[in-house]
Symmetry: C2
Subunit: 112 residues, 2 copies
Amino acid sequence: MEALWELGAASVREIQERLPAKGRPAHTTVQTILTRLEAKQAVRRAKKISNAYIYEPVVTRGATQRLLVDELLAFFGGRAAPLVSHLIESGQLTLQDVEEARKALKGDGKHG
Amino acid sequence: MEALWELGAASVREIQERLPAKGRPAHTTVQTILTRLEAKQAVRRAKKISNAYIYEPVVTRGATQRLLVDELLAFFGGRAAPLVSHLIESGQLTLQDVEEARKALKGDGKHG
DNA sequence: CATTGTCTCCTACATCTGTAGAATCGTCAA
DNA sequence: TTGACGATTCTACAGATGTAGGAGACAATG
């Protein structure tokens, strides 16, 4: 649903056609979703070309990811440790990632 | 909604009464949720005491968390690094957590 | 101006989820 | 058996989300 972040600003048609042909929704479906996202202030109409609106993301992908992470964190009782544990278990988190995280933590210093 | 994991097996009444008084849902609301969770095979009826069913979780909290994490990970393109970055930025991930993660990774060895 | 093609707007339907009242059923006590 | 109390089942409604058809608006073309 939010694959439009990859496109930046785009018209309904552009978005719809960029979607994987496999099970691609109808043009009006994309239109509806955009309208609802607009109502939610997640996107906005940047301008109009001919009779078509160009939609532009208001919330960035990063911001959305942050939101999601916070929600997940809440589900974990606000503690990141169990989350990290899972990441390790599933082999998604490499030693290198952890090393970088360590450096970031030490270098930052102003946490907590 | 899934605060029943804290209780283990319990009846509708027990669950409902354990919920925070603040905005506690009606008995039938809890009942409905349980019924739907049962249809989804997330819980099951363990047994019956008098005329009340005792519900029991089928999926553990951990399994649910794993699911959630995997979903989030998918949204991050399968890479854990950005996720960890956010954790650090929001101050949720302590140096101690990272150290433990490091040990787990080294001690494990069979990842990747 | 009429035609055609595209886009938007309005409306609609299905499912999921949260919420809960009404009716019914079952159990326990007298 | 009858009454009371609590649990289950049935039904319903609202909001969010995914899906999409039909009607009308608007631009390009002849």
